[in-house]
Amino acid sequence: MSGEPLLRVEGVSKAFGGVLALSAVDLDVHTGDIVGIIGPNGSGKTTLVNAITGFIKVDHGRVSFKGHDITNWKPHKIADMGLTRTFQVMRPYYSLPAFKNLIVPLFSRRARRTGGWRGGGKMGSRDTVAVDILEEIGFERDSYVPYKVASSLPTGYLKRLELARCLALRPEVVICDEVFSGLSMSEMASMVPLIEKLQMEGITLIMVEHRLRELFRLANRVVVLNFGCKIAEGTAEEVMAYKEVKEAYFGSEEVLTYV
């Protein structure tokens, strides 16, 4: 890991009333990384994602992306630069068919510039591009799932739809907020190769996860948060060796054996 990081978070803090949700968190992400972020419930993971992507204003600290200071920029400008995120609580347009969900991101300036997904320059009809993206990410075209209304789709597809919204912008970075949680074993088994494929295509990923087994297979670096502080950083094995991590995060032995 050398050179200027793609995304740099320096000393970011955020308090909600009396709760210090983030305190002086640092994070460097380099091109091609898959960085895992783990931590117990309420440790500030989603808050960190929100702080990076502009969905909340930070109290202190600095976020920079591709050399630009993007601290407290508006979310749409950050997304426009290619730094995208999924939502832990999924936010599809429930009343629309799955592929119509992608019309909004494909309508954005960035998608027009980049041609959306791999369209390369000029886009075809947005509907066609949308179905292509969905097929790429595991919506089988033959089974008509891309045309089903979003409210009728199971969690696995909705998580993919969250990812698809990011991919429609042809992002450089995708921050996934718990894309594995709520998935069945088989859904998970197909999600892992999908993430690997995205990495192969040159997308840098940050993955907030509770499912450590899958995460550790994918991530080349893991960051541990607890009560808003970064308590450990390193490879999966290094992180697991930290005494604080065992105490703070795992607590009970069952979880350890599960991992």
Binding site: T53, F55, K74, P75, H76, K77, A79, D80, T84, R85, F87, R91, P92, Y93, S95, L96, K100, I103, V104, P105, L106, F107, S108, R109, R110, A111, R126, R165, C166, A168, L169
Partner: protein, 340 residues
């Protein structure tokens, strides 16, 4: 009887057209084309023939122009409320701004109506959008209250500063060349507005607007600035309102502070509720019903409001979906009782 009713239920069956998915039609026969076009033709021909039918009643021809003024406002209200998610009570602002700009251009610079109306429409809509811009982050009832503040404030400012003719308003404007021009101009604008907007909300940009209404976080995460689209929505509604206001000024050959009146903010909502929100055509139908009632009740003065309240309550309690939604359902599906 009641025993029999219990083991039956109402079933709804699509009729008329074989392949009908959301907005996509496969038309294969004259019968089906007629089926599709009939409702549209009723509305279009009905409005176009109205001035001719009313030739003997000049008073009611004037009411027809009023219906169109309110219809333009109501279309804008329905669009903003049900497709952009902004409940705007700014109707009075749009009318007043449009009327005053047209009046100033006409009286100070001597420009004819075919110049003042388009200029007042665009410049007025721009001005209204800029005025409402700071309020766009507000939601729901907060936006509604603040947007109502401006039409209440504007007449007080004009009074206090004694500008634009003060309480007398600007008088002696040019009228339209004839009643027919006035009628058909207004009717044409309403028809174009309603069908253009109905088309737009089904296009891709319409999905963005709906996203702004239902799921603004996802829209932001898609790299789209929701403020831009809210402002665009307000601009579209203001275009319709200012157009109506500019025409109103030339119809009465006068612009005055009563054109910031509360009626212009309230009746569009009532019309949208009565006609059926989210259909755009419903807003027009609502005006066709409510505005004449309002005229008939003119003698009762402020008691009109009480009658309005009754009509509204009735609709909200008994037919909350609105006329248009109800009629569409009856037209596209038939109901029958089936044994369970």
């Amino acid at each position: 009887m009641s025993v029999v009713k219990q083991d039956r239920r109402k079933e709804r069956v699509d009729r008329g057209i074989k392949v009908r998915t959301d907005g996509v039609y496969a038309v294969s026969s004259w019968a089906e084309i007629t089926y599709l076009l009939l409702p549209r033709m009723v509305l279009i021909l009905g409005l176009l023939l109205a001035p001719v039918v009313l030739t003997a009643f000049p008073y009611w021809q004037r009411v027809l122009s009023h219906i169109c003024v309110y219809a333009l406002l109501a279309i804008g209200f329905d669009f903003l409320a049900n497709f952009v998610g902004l409940v705007s009570l700014g109707g009075g602002l749009y009318i007043g701004v449009g009327a005053y700009i047209a009046a100033l251009l006409n009286s100070h610079y001597g420009l004819p109506p075919y110049v003042t109306v388009p200029v007042a429409t665009l410049a007025g809509a721009g001005l209204c959008t800029v005025i409402l811009l700071p309020c766009l982050p507000l939601r729901g009832v907060y936006f509604a209250i603040v947007s109502l503040m401006f039409p209440l404030l504007a007449p007080r400012i004009i009074e206090a500063l004694d500008i634009f003719g003060g309480t007398d308003g600007i008088v002696g404007l040019d009228g339209f060349p004839s009643g027919w021009v006035e009628q058909y101009l207004m009717i044409g604008c309403v028809l174009i507005a309603v069908f253009a907007l109905r088309r737009m909300v089904t296009e891709d940009v319409g999905l963005v607007f709906r996203g702004v209404k239902d799921n603004d976080q996802a829209v932001k995460a898609s790299g789209i600035d929701i403020t831009t689209y809210k402002a665009l929505g307000v601009f579209i509604a203001a275009v319709l309102g200012c157009l109506a206001g500019a025409c109103l000024a030339h119809i009465y050959m006068w612009a005055g502070i009563s054109q910031f009146g509360l009626d212009y903010s309230i009746i569009p909502i009532a019309a949208t509720v009565v006609g059926g929100g989210g259909t755009l055509i419903g807003a027009v139908i609502g005006c066709v019903i409510l505005v004449p009632i309002s005229e008939l009740l003119r003698d009762f003065g402020t008691l009109r409001i009480a009658v309005y309240a009754l009509i509204l309550t009735g609709f909200i309690v008994y037919k909350s979906e609105g006329i248009m939604t109800y009629v569409t359902r009856k037209y596209e599906q038939f109901e029958r009782w089936v044994e369970i």
